[in-house]
């Protein structure tokens, strides 16, 4: 997902830059303003409709699988996670790969960010950890290994040291 976000952003920014550079290079030429505005109006209308027509299916597709769990799943492995300045209290710290996990995430003092990283330090999923609320974050680990939990919401002078590990074992172990 991160690579897709990077590629889309980079290529669209480069496309935009190309348009600006093209116009800057042509700015020294002199043409009738009404003529330029007339052509620009047609291009703008086309651009508007292209963006809108492309935007509707993109919006629909990206909204089909939201990470918001309305209710707890009775078949999932439940892991309780409580953030405090500046550590995580996670129980249990071992789960089974291939089976859904529900993190029940809260905090006791300030808002923290519960973020799960794999062994390559790639961010897999996250939610906010907030006093008075329990957020249910669903995730299924595809493979066994050691995963890290970092805090991704600034919570004070020890924010960067809030780290804990979760062990994921293969099914049947």
């Amino acid at each position: 997902m991160q690579d897709l976000a990077w590629n889309i952003s980079l290529w669209l920014m480069l496309l935009l830059a190309a348009a600006f550079i093209f116009v800057a290079m042509k700015s020294g030429e002199k043409a009738d303003a009404a003529e330029v505005q007339s052509s620009a109006g047609k291009i703008r209308a086309a651009l508007f409709w292209v963006i809108l027509i492309a935007g509707v299916p993109i919006t629909m597709v990206t909204l089909t699988d939201l990470p918001y769990a309305a209710q707890s799943d009775s078949t999932a492995q439940i892991v309780k996670a409580e953030g405090s300045q500046f550590n995580w209290d996670i129980n249990p710290t071992q789960v089974v790969a291939g089976q859904p996990v529900e993190f029940h995430v809260t905090a006791i003092d300030a808002t923290h960010g519960f973020a799960v990283y794999d062994d390559t330090m790639t961010l897999l999923t996250q939610t906010q950890a907030m006093p008075e609320y329990t957020n249910i974050l669903k995730y299924t680990f595809a493979k066994a290994g050691t995963y890290k939990v970092l805090c991704l919401e600034y919570c004070g002078s020890g924010h960067h040291v809030m780290s804990e590990e979760i062990t994921v074992v293969a099914g049947g172990n």
Partner: protein, 474 residues
């Protein structure tokens, strides 16, 4: 009908800009210090890092506001009658607030970030005392009061001239049959900013007072999710308003180079009316990882994020291209910086929209992707808008040294934001005082590009200050 700005009013604007230029440079050095520390090149305690981060964040928001206010007031004053004493009161309150904030941070040790996320100010884990937090929040509140008075004055003046906010937004021309000329772009933009920023400032002032009461009387507390909503509504609206105020420089100055007046066409009016609504209701895109928020609000945050890009890309960015294209214009520093600024703003919208997608936000939220996209439209959008205005008001078209500064700013600025975006793609968290070894490569490049960017801005600021005396007399 255009009024001629008085000498005193112009000197007031120059005072805003001089303050902004000096403080901006100082805050950029704070930013460089943080990147250098993350890169392993500087060894500073975590407490100091987070104090610098707090000062950098709240300071940059304030400075962006001051630059935007100066631009808007200078040009709006040519269409409606504004109060110079209130304009000066705003900068007076700003300076009082800055002293309180700096004292709270660097003497009192406050490091609650610019977001002062409730209930963090009251729960510092021993890093700062209650009074430091109260002084800091009071300083922010005083600055907010100054801006509120500033907007009430612009609102009063707009209503006296145009009769209603709807008329000032050009609604009779947009929705009715009026054939009269629509209000100029500066009036339309100022009206939009007036509407959204008053709402934002009231929300911000409310949560600031609530937070202070919570610190002094811990038995008094509110729902932390409500507090978070109020903070992000205020923060989102205020920082966006700085862009919408600053872009007035583009509408007013660029036509003087292209010879093509920027008109309030129907698409323009429609875009600004849409933006008025979008800026107010899009803020839940900051709370997409708050799973306990109503799902409809998260969906609205994504959908409105997408729609918000249309006015920026299709109207302002495309408009700038259409006005410049084959206009026979001769480039000077004001035009170059403003053209760059429109690109920076529009380019920044792209990674912001990508991050506004819920399924993407799941893996990019609070990574360095976030400072990557907001630095694109603030560092490469608002800053060149302000700098372009500085060159314009001092009537400096630029020389070799200014051109060198421009290219240092372009190379440094783009290099800087792309190191942030790349690090975000690599899942590097934002707001970490210490980085792991594998993250330091982009940190080192980021620090290098930051230094080059500062060199460019230093040239702009020094050149502005050198020409200040002459501009004040003219």
């Amino acid at each position: 009908m255009e009024n001629v700005i008085s000498k005193g009013a112009k000197q007031s604007v120059l005072g805003y800009l001089a303050t902004a230029g000096v403080v901006l440079l100082l805050l950029m050095v704070f930013g460089l210090t943080m990147r250098a520390a993350q890169a392993g090149g500087l060894d500073i305690p975590a407490e100091i890092f987070y104090q610098l981060m707090t000062a950098h964040g709240i300071g940059m928001v304030g400075i962006a506001g001051m630059c935007g206010a100066a631009i808007m007031w200078y040009f709006l004053g040519q269409y409606v009658k504004l109060s110079t004493p209130i304009f000066l009161l705003n900068i007076g309150l700003f300076l009082v607030g800055v002293v309180m904030i700096l004292g709270a941070i660097f003497i009192g040790g406050f490091a609650g970030a610019w977001t002062f996320l409730y209930p963090l100010p009251a729960n510092s884990a021993g890093a700062w005392g209650d009074m430091s937090a109260v002084v800091h929040l009071s300083g922010v509140l005083i600055i907010g009061v100054g801006f509120l008075l500033f907007h009430l004055d612009t609102g009063w003046a707009i209503l006296k001239q145009y009769g209603s906010l709807g008329k000032a937004l050009g609604w009779p021309q947009l929705f009715g049959n009026s054939t009269a000329d629509a209000p100029p772009p500066t009036v339309v933009a100022s009206t939009m900013v007036l509407i959204v920023n008053v709402l934002g400032l009231v929300s911000g002032a409310s949560i600031l007072v609530i937070s202070m009461v919570n610190i002094l009387v811990p038995e008094f507390s509110i729902d932390p999710l409500l507090g978070k909503n109020m903070i992000f509504f205020f923060g989102h609206v205020f920082i966006n308003a700085t862009i919408y105020m600053s872009v007035i420089a583009v509408y007013e100055i660029l036509p003087r180079y292209t010879g093509r007046a920027w008109k309030s066409s129907k698409p323009f009016l429609f875009a600004w009316t849409c933006s008025t609504l979008f800026v107010v209701i899009v803020y839940p895109h900051h709370l997409l990882m708050d799973i306990n928020m109503p799902t409809w609000m998260a969906v609205m945050g994504q959908v409105i994020s997408y729609l918000s890009g249309l006015p920026v890309l299709v109207v302002t960015a495309f408009g700038a291209l259409a006005y410049v294209h084959r206009s026979g214009m001769k480039w000077g520093m004001p035009a170059s910086l403003l053209f760059l600024a429109v690109f920076g703003w529009a380019a920044g919208v792209i990674p912001a929209i990508v991050d506004g997608t819920i399924s993407v936000n799941l893996v990019l939220h609070n990574t360095q992707w976030v400072p990557g996209h907001f630095h694109t439209y603030l560092l490469l959008g608002v800053v060149p808008m302000a700098m372009g205005f500085m060159y314009y008001i001092t009537e400096n078209e630029g020389s070799f040294i200014d051109t060198a500064g421009f290219w240092a700013f372009v190379v440094g600025g783009f290099g800087f934001i792309f190191t942030f975006l790349w690090a975000g793609k690599e899942s590097v968290p934002r707001r970490f005082a210490e980085h792991q070894a594998e993250w330091m490569g982009t940190d080192q490049l980021g620090a290098l590009f930051a230094a080059v960017t500062i060199l460019g801005v230093a040239i702009f600021a020094v050149r502005f200050l050198a020409n200040l005396g002459q501009a004040a007399k003219s």
